[in-house]
Symmetry: C2
Subunit: 338 residues, 2 copies
C-alpha cells in the first residue's frame, strides 16, 4: 500500500539518492532528473513516509500537548491558540487529555516521549501528583508548562499571574461597596486553584473585609450551581463572590438568581478566564481576562529556547491579566477613590 522513494527512483530511472535530492532540493540535480523524478512521484502518488524520515533525522516535527480536559472551554481555547501559533511552522500538535488524572497524564507523557515528540507543552493536572512525570519528561525533551504548573518551580512555565488577577477582582468588588466576600473555586489540587485562592485570601484580609468560609469543589458549571445553593442556604448572602473560573461563576449567577437574589444589586460576582460564554451569560459576566493568545505565543517561543535537561534555572513567565467589568458586579461607589 506504500509507494516508496525506491519506486519513484526506479520509475524515473535514477538512484534513490538522486530521487531524494530532486524531491528535497537539498542538492542540485540536472533539470532533466528533477523533471523526471517529479513526474514519477506525481504519477505514483508518492507520499514520503514520515516515520522513516523521523527515524533517520532523529526529529519528528511534532510537539505534544497535554491538558487536563478538552471539555473545559478554557483548555480548548488555549489549545486552539497554540495550534494557530504553530500552524505555519511545519510542526504538528499531538493533543492529549489527561482527564484530570495524574496516572493517565503520566501514561500520555510516556507515549508522547516514546513517539519522540520534539517538545512538550503541558498543563499538569495536579500540583503535587504530576511532579515526577513532568520532571522526568523535562529531562528528556524541551518542556514548557502552560497555565497550570507543578510545585517547586523546577520546570519552565508560562501563564497568568493568578494572584494579581484575583487581587484586581477583590479590589474591584470592594470599591463597589462589598463588605463581606467569599471565594468559590476548586479544591486545591492545581496551581491555579491554589494561587487564586491564596491571592483571594491575601487581598481580602489586606482590605480588612469580612471573609466567609470558601466553597471549594470543581471548575465546573455544576459546582457553581451547587455553590450558589449553599450560599442561599446560609443565614445571609455575602456582598460579593469571587469565582475560580467563569464556569463556576455562570452556574453561581444562575442559581443565585433562581433563589431570588439580584445580581449585582444584592451580590457581585466576578469570574476568571473570560473565555467561552462569559459574554453570553445573563447578565454578562465581570471577569479576569486571561491573555490566551499571548500566553500561547510565549509558550511556543519559550519552547524553542528550552533544551532538555537544561541545568539553567527554569523561567517563569507570568503575564498580568486585565479585569473586564461587565454587569455582574457593582461599579465603584460614587465619590469613591476611583
Amino acid at each position: 500500500m506504500g509507494v516508496t522513494i525506491h519506486d519513484v527512483a526506479r520509475a524515473a530511472g535514477v538512484s534513490v539518492a538522486s530521487a531524494s535530492r530532486a524531491l528535497s532540493g537539498r542538492r542540485k540535480v540536472t533539470p532533466e532528473t528533477a523533471e523526471r523524478v517529479a513526474r514519477a512521484a506525481a504519477e505514483l502518488g508518492y507520499q514520503p513516509n514520515a516515520v522513516a524520515k523521523a527515524l533517520r533525522d532523529q526529529t519528528t516535527g511534532t510537539i505534544g500537548m497535554v491538558v487536563p480536559g478538552i471539555g473545559n472551554p478554557f483548555f480548548t481555547t488555549i489549545v486552539e491558540a497554540v495550534e494557530r501559533e504553530l500552524q505555519n511552522s511545519g510542526v504538528d500538535l499531538l493533543l492529549c487529555s489527561s482527564r484530570y488524572d495524574p496516572q493517565i497524564e503520566a501514561r500520555r507523557l510516556g507515549t508522547l516521549l516514546a513517539r519522540r515528540v520534539d517538545g512538550l507543552i503541558i498543563s499538569p493536572c495536579d500540583i503535587e501528583a504530576s511532579v515526577p512525570a513532568v520532571l522526568d519528561a523535562a529531562r528528556r525533551v524541551p518542556l514548557v508548562q502552560l497555565d497550570r504548573h507543578i510545585e517547586g518551580g523546577a520546570a519552565d512555565w508560562v501563564g497568568v499571574d493568578d494572584e494579581a488577577g484575583v487581587t484586581l477582582a477583590v479590589e474591584h468588588v470592594i470599591a463597589g461597596g462589598a463588605r463581606s466576600v467569599v471565594f468559590a473555586g476548586s479544591r486545591l489540587v492545581s496551581s491555579s486553584a491554589r494561587l487564586r485562592f491564596s491571592g483571594f485570601e491575601r487581598a481580602a484580609s489586606r482590605a480588612g473585609v469580612e471573609v466567609l468560609p470558601p466553597l471549594l469543589g470543581e471548575f465546573t458549571l455544576e459546582w457553581g450551581v451547587e455553590a450558589g445553593r449553599l450560599l442561599l442556604d446560609a443565614d445571609r448572602l455575602p456582598d460579593a463572590v469571587i469565582c475560580g473560573n467563569d464556569e463556576i461563576a455562570v452556574g453561581l449567577v444562575r442559581s443565585l438568581r433562581l433563589g431570588g437574589a439580584r445580581i449585582p444589586e444584592d451580590v457581585s460576582v466576578v469570574g476568571f478566564d473570560d473565555v467561552g460564554h462569559a459574554t453570553m451569560c445573563d447578565p454578562p459576566l465581570s471577569t479576569v481576562r486571561q491573555p490566551v493568545e499571548e500566553m500561547a505565543a510565549e509558550a511556543v517561543r519559550l519552547l524553542g529556547q528550552v533544551k532538555a535537561g537544561d541545568p539553567r534555572p527554569a523561567q517563569r513567565i507570568a503575564i498580568t491579566p486585565r479585569l473586564v467589568v461587565r454587569q455582574t458586579s457593582r461599579p465603584p461607589a460614587a465619590g469613591g477613590a476611583d
Copy 2:
C-alpha cells in the same frame, strides 16, 4: 539523549536479539538473561523508540481523528467517547481540528497519512468540499466517518438518524399544540445541517402545520441569540422552534426570554445533541439525544473491520435517537392521542 536496545544489550552482556526477546517476551529466553536484560533496561531507563518500531512493524499503533472544531461541545464529547473506547486497546488517538475549513482538513489528513496512522475517524466539515480528501484517505487506510459525512455514500459512516430525530421533535411540538413552526439551524454546508433541515421540512409539511422561513446561520450560541432576535423582530412568534443543535437552542431561549417571550408557554423550543449544558440551561432544554457512547463504540468496531480501498460497498450505520422532553416544550395537549 536516547538509550537504545543496543545499550541495554551491551550492559546486559547479550545480543540485541536476546535483549529484544527478553523485553518483548515473544520468544523464550533463560530466566537468567531475562533477569539481566530487565535489570539493565531499568537501570538505563530504556524506553523503546516507537518510531523505529513503527517503521519495522509497518504499523504505528495510532489512529487519527479529525473533527471540525474542538470548541463545539458536541465534538469534544464524541472525542472523549472515542478516547474512552480506545483506551484499553493500546492504540493512541491523534486528534486534529479542521477548524471548519476543508483546506485545513485536507492538510491534516495528509499529515496523518504521512505519519502512517493505522486508521482514521473523521467528521468531514463540508459535505461537498471534503469529498476528494476523504475519498483519497479512504483509499489508503481504513476510514470511518462519524457524525457528519460526505455526499455520495462512498465511505463508511456511523451516526445518528438525523431525519428521524428531527421528526420526533416536530411531532412532539405539534402534539403540544403548535400550529406554526420554524427551523433555526446552520447553513447547509454539512450533512447534519442538511438532513436536519430536510427532515424538519418533510415532517412539518406532512403534519400540515404552517412553516415559517428557516433561519440558517451557524451551530453556535451566538447564532441562536441572533436567530431569537430575528424572530422577535417579526410580526408574530411561531408556536415552536426546532433547532439544529443545543447551542443554537440555548442562545435562542435566552434571547426570546430577554424579549419577553415565555418558554414554553408562548414558544416551544427543542434542541439537538443533548450534550454540554442542555440540562443546565434555564429552563432545562427539551432536545434530541445523540447516543454518543454507542456511536463511538460502533465507529471503533467498524474501523476494525474496514479495509483500505475496499471495493465492498460502504456501510452506513444510522442509530435512531431518542427525544428527551424537559421544560422548553409544551407537553402533549391533555386528551391528545398520547
